[in-house]
């Protein structure tokens, strides 16, 4: 395995030392990290790399697809019938609730009309399948089926039946990336259901956990309190379940209580999620721009 077999004998020219070459490439990598993490300027390169890895991704899906096909083949009839009955029962219950909700909504809109208040927009939604969780233990992210071509927009909230799961943070042509609520970079305006106290919830960076860093230590928060989205940013509709408070520590040295909450929506529980589309045209924006303030802006429309 001497180098002579693959390289012509060259006595005097010397290539750079391994240390030097390693250093050059390490610097290049550091430049990449800085440009991507700080300035977000490498999206073109990322898209190109994504396209290059499409065959690899498809090859990697073969085992799970095979497993699905096998499962479908061997799934017992009785189990499916049982599931069908349960689902029918649930559907019936929910139909009743939905009808009541329609009535209530109509009444609410009439009242709002009388009081000349803004009506809160209803968000259209679509169901999307989870492809996989991001293959990196440092970030809490998910990959979803459906991308630009399926009209999935940047910034859309993503839910499961148990509550808020996260937000779409990157849209590729065929799939999109969800940053989970537990991700450190995500902050959500929430309110505590019992006391209607509004605050911000921040992802803790650990799976399924978030913290409330800005609650004064004197305020009334208990373990077991539900956190709902407050809808103040206009991005998440008001009233989505987010988390349950698990721990409240008050120390005399700090003005803020140390509160941890457990997320309601788990990644492993559901094969499908609901992607809400923030309404592109908030109808009352044009009529009374001064009033709307922070209540309706949608991130995709923030940029002029």
């Amino acid at each position: 395995m001497s180098p002579l077999e693959t390289r012509p004998l060259d006595l005097f020219s010397r290539s750079a030392s391994p240390w030097f070459r390693g250093m050059v490439y390490a610097l290049l990598a550091l430049a990449c990290i800085a440009t991507d993490a700080h300035f977000h300027r490498l999206e073109m390169l990322r898209q190109a790399l994504e396209v290059m890895t499409v065959p690899i991704q498809e090859a990697a899906e073969i085992p799970s697809l095979t497993k699905q096909v096998m499962e479908r083949h061997f799934d017992s009839l009785s189990r499916l019938q049982e599931e069908n009955t349960t689902l029918r029962r649930q559907l019936l219950l929910q139909t009743g609730q939905a009808q009541q909700a329609t009535l209530l909504l109509r009444d609410l809109n009439q009242m709002r009309g009388l009081l000349q208040l803004q009506s809160s927009p209803l968000f259209p939604a679509r169901v999307s399948a989870i492809i996989s969780s991001a293959r990196n233990p440092f970030v809490q992210k998910l990959l979803l089926e459906g991308g630009e071509s399926q009209q999935i927009h940047l910034g859309s909230p993503v839910l499961t039946e148990q509550g808020l799961l996260g937000q779409i943070t990157r849209v590729y042509p065929l799939y999109s990336e969800v940053t989970l609520v537990s991700n450190r970079n995500l902050t959500i305006p929430v309110e505590i259901e019992r006391t209607a106290l509004r605050t911000l919830a921040v992802g803790s960076g650990h799976q399924g956990e978030m913290t409330l860093p800005y609650v004064p230590s004197g305020s009334d928060v208990r373990p077991g309190d539900f956190l709902l989205t407050s809808g103040i940013d206009g991005l998440y509709p008001r009233g989505l379940t987010v988390a349950t408070v698990t721990q409240v520590n008050r120390s005399k040295s700090s003005a803020f209580a140390d509160i941890t909450a457990r997320l309601n929506a788990g990644v492993d529980s559901a094969p499908f999620v609901l992607v809400m589309t923030p309404s592109p045209a908030a109808p009352l924006m044009e009529e009374s721009p001064a009033e709307t303030g922070s209540s309706h802006p949608v991130p995709t429309h923030k940029k002029p």
Binding site: G22, M23, A29, I33, M52, Q57, R135, K141, R184
Partner: protein, 175 residues
């Protein structure tokens, strides 16, 4: 040049592996990376790509260069849908260390080589961890640190597997 190793004297005289095969093995390791990992599996998933970087860096240092390793790092960053360049950095560092320790690694038997591989993979893991920490991400669960150990165990059978892979001088027997 290289010290003549007791167990490497034979293979050292053979023709180099075909470059196409080397790239194919890297592609396979990326497929492994792209499997839908999650939970504990994700934390314990051995970094096969890094192991291959060590193997080809030791046994084919002329065919595999820094550029290949860098692109490989970028591709594996794409797999983790995270900041570009994290793995490119750690693999570049790993490859440089492999080149430095190559004669030493070649002079040992496989079990002792495994300890070197463990050290190298640990450095890679640590680089990843430190970069993520600087970028502001929380450390994962402690079992994440078992990854290099599991990867190093792969060194027990990977060399005997790859030793038999196609070499550039080989001609198919059917011809």
């Amino acid at each position: 040049m290289d010290p003549i190793a007791p167990n490497q004297a034979g293979p050292a005289l053979r023709a180099p592996h075909s470059l196409r095969w080397i790239l194919f093995s890297f592609t396979l390791s990326l497929v492994f990376l792209f499997f839908p990992w999650h939970g504990t599996g994700l934390l314990l998933r051995p970094d096969v790509t890094a192991l291959l970087v060590v193997y080809w860096g030791v046994f084919e240092p002329v065919l595999v260069g820094n550029g290949t390793i860098f692109v490989l790092g970028l591709l594996s960053d794409t797999a983790s849908s995270h900041v570009l360049g994290v793995h490119a950095l750690s693999y570049s560092l790993l490859f440089t260390l492999v080149q430095y320790y190559r004669p030493r690694i070649l002079s040992f038997y496989r079990l002792n080589q495994m300890l070197h591989v463990l050290m190298l993979l640990m450095v890679t893991q640590l680089t990843d961890g430190v970069v993520e920490w600087v970028l502001g991400y929380a450390w994962p669960d402690w079992i994440w640190w078992l990854q290099p150990a599991i990867g190093a165990l792969g060194w027990l059978f990977l060399p005997s597997l790859l030793e038999r892979s196609p070499r550039s001088g080989d001609t198919p027997k059917s011809l």
